[in-house]
């Protein structure tokens, strides 16, 4: 099975406070070293295992500036066959736009069967990209995956679910969102492979060449609006997962926070 892993490097959470500069707005992270996000480490490990277990290959995709390249090189050193970085999307890009960009970048690298993301980015912790990627590609979305083992007919997937775990056989293309677990601690690359990876080119593709300028500026998910429009702190939706999902979608549509539904 060919897998594509989506990697995001984030400002090093262990960086000392003095390496961040604050001028009242967003912190200036230009002096902060970037490291692969913790959940992306798990995603990369699982992606490698899927590729190895199924005799397939792994490709890696990142989005952002050159600070992302180191993570892509780690993936190359560990066995990824190709890496692409989407350069130049605005930092405020809509999450759906980001998912479309990532999806288009994955297509550049070849056939995509299993898409693997971390559970959430280590900086904003929004936990939306995996689900949105699945939406963009029309694929099933499997959250909180902590293991994937190749077996006859597909991949045996293990997931965390409310109150425990479950396993199931995945026989189609899908998006896996990987949670942190002792089973998916990222292996260390070999130093020689890492040195060779620093000499390999990273395919850098301009965001606007993938989607076009206008599409980049689209805002589809209005994240900041719900609490304000609701006029209250929020609403807790309880019940069966399927019912909860429906209720949430209805609520978001009512708030105009989903594509095509402006109040």
């Amino acid at each position: 099975m060919d897998a594509t892993v989506f990697l995001k490097a984030i400002p090093d959470p262990a960086a000392p406070p003095e390496s961040f500069a604050f001028d009242g707005g967003c912190p200036d992270t230009s002096r902060v070293p970037f490291v692969l996000g913790p959940f992306e480490e798990n995603a990369l490990e699982l992606g490698l295992r899927i590729a190895e277990g199924t005799g397939g290959s792994l490709r890696a995709v990142a989005m952002g500036g050159p600070e992302q390249d180191k993570s892509l090189r780690t993936a190359l050193a560990l066995g990824a066959t190709a890496a692409v970085r989407v350069d130049g999307p605005p930092s405020w890009a809509d999450p759906v736009v980001a998912a479309r960009l990532l999806s288009a970048a994955a297509d550049r690298l070849g056939v995509v069967e299993v898409l693997v993301t971390g559970r959430q980015a280590g900086d904003w912790d929004r936990s939306v990209t995996g689900a949105l990627l699945a939406g963009v590609r029309g694929l099933p979305y499997l959250p909180r995956v902590f293991d994937a083992v190749a077996e006859e007919g597909g991949l045996r997937i293990a997931q965390e679910v409310a109150g425990g775990t479950r396993t199931g056989l995945l026989a189609t293309a899908a998006v896996l969102s990987v949670t942190n677990a002792p089973t998916t601690i990222l292996r260390m690359p070999n130093v020689r492979a890492l040195i060779l990876a620093t000499r390999r080119p990273i395919d850098v593709v301009e965001a606007r060449s993938l989607l076009g300028e206008a599409a980049l500026r689209e805002r589809l998910v209005d994240e900041g609006v719900s609490a304000r429009r609701l006029g209250r702190a929020g609403r807790r939706v309880v019940g069966e997962p399927a019912d909860v999902a429906k209720a949430l979608v209805a609520e978001l549509e009512a708030q105009g926070a989903l594509p095509g539904a402006r109040p």
């Binding site: 180191k70 090189r73 260390m188 690359p189 070999n190 130093v191 020689r192 492979a193 890492l194 040195i195 990876a197 620093t198 000499r199």
Partner: protein, 390 residues
């Protein structure tokens, strides 16, 4: 002049840092506390470093290593020493001697020894100069200086007899570079020869493993030669040219020793800084007291200056046209003196906590002391450098 790491150097440093975080720090202080010196050494760490390609960092790519240059090696030594000095010594010796074999060995010697070293996940290297009665003498030779270890010509080779001591990796190495007196009528400067001696050579045995104050994750031992036969093919360099081999083919040895103690000093400084930021006395974090903050700034200055000197020496090793023989003696002197100063002051920043084992400062202090002596006593190295002034 570019004061910036290349992508490759940065990648190596980061990998070593990760190795330290994952594998070294969790076990180093426990290993250090073992009573028997043999129990402080860990084959498991060596094998893990092998798996990560670190053991063969300096081995040329044609043999399956990474073939990094002297600067990158010094950076790796420094980073490893931030985790543990003993382990840094285990590898600094091995990395240095792999480079020496590549520089000084014949094509036939390289073909015979380097693939075997690459293939053995426990393959470590050691070098034996020091003897109980011939020690600083090989740094500042005089007419009467001789190795007591002798090599006498025999059919097709040489017979070695003698005892070396204090040898880093002495009881762990699979291959030794051994310096022995081949012409007793001459001083060691003109009458010694370097030999390659595999561990399993009949007559080679290990004596005492020294019990050390610090740097305990490395073992130092006596290596004994009793009628050890070494074929002519295993002479490193030319017979009688041992001192020249020592002078020519270890350009970065002093820089690596310096980088080792520098790494320990940096670890101590980092801890002192973190401590000063969180320890509150006098109504505020102690770093807010000017005198203490300026103390830390001074330590930073010494560390930065030393680091530049060490990297300059390693760089000059990579660029023979820029080599200055002073760089083969002085960086370790500076680094060990600075290291000692940083350690004692960083300990003081911790107050009484620094003296308690719980903060780990005492281990760093014990470790840093090793390099006041190791790789040449400082006074002797100054004398060695002074020769070039006359």
């Amino acid at each position: 002049m570019v004061f910036q790491l290349t992508d490759e150097q940065a990648a190596v440093v980061e990998l070593v840092r990760e190795f330290v975080t994952r594998e070294v720090l969790p076990v180093a202080s426990r290993l250090d506390r073992n009573e028997r010196p043999e129990d402080c050494f860990s084959w498991e760490l060596v094998e893990k470093a092998s798996a990560a390609g670190l053991r063969t960092l300096t081995l040329d790519e044609e043999y399956g290593g990474s073939g990094v240059d002297f600067v990158t090696t010094a950076l790796a030594v420094e980073e490893l020493a931030k985790g543990d000095m003993g382990l840094a010594v285990v590898f600094a010796q091995t990395w240095k001697l792999a480079q020496t074999l590549q520089l000084a060995g014949t094509a036939e010697q390289r073909a015979r020894y380097l693939p075997a070293y690459a293939a053995d996940p426990r393959g470590l290297l050691a070098i034996t100069f020091t003897e109980p009665d011939t020690a600083s003498d090989y740094f500042v030779p005089h007419d009467g200086a001789r190795y007591a270890t002798t090599a006498v010509e025999a059919e097709g080779g040489w017979r070695l007899n003698g005892l070396k001591h204090f040898i880093s990796n002495g009881n762990r190495a699979s291959l030794y570079i051994v310096f022995a007196q081949t012409d007793v009528a001459q001083s060691l400067e003109h009458g010694s020869t370097a030999f390659l001696v595999p561990r399993d050579t009949p007559g080679l045995s290990i004596g005492r493993v020294h019990d050390k104050l610090g740097e305990r994750l490395a073992n130092n031992a006596e290596v004994i030669f009793e009628d050890v036969f070494v074929p002519d093919a295993d002479v490193l360099g030319e017979p009688g040219q041992g001192f020249r081999v020592q002078q020519t083919f270890f350009p970065a040895s002093n820089a690596y020793a310096a980088a080792t103690v520098l790494g320990v000093a940096e670890a101590a400084y980092d801890r002192a800084l973190a401590w000063a930021r969180q320890r509150v006395q006098g109504g505020k974090p102690i770093i807010q007291h000017d005198s203490l903050a300026s103390d830390l700034a001074e330590l930073r200055m010494w560390l930065d200056a030393t680091r530049l000197y060490v990297l300059h020496a390693a760089w000059a090793g990579d660029h023979p046209e820029a080599w200055d023989p002073m760089l083969g003696a002085l960086p370790k002197v500076l680094a060990s003196e600075v290291g000692w100063r940083v350690l004692t002051r960083a300990m003081e920043v911790h107050g009484g906590y620094g003296y308690m084992k719980e903060t780990g400062m005492e281990k760093l202090l014990r470790d840093a002391a090793a390099f006041l002596h190791s790789d040449g006593v400082n006074r002797t190295l100054l004398l060695k450098a002074a020769k070039h002034l006359r």
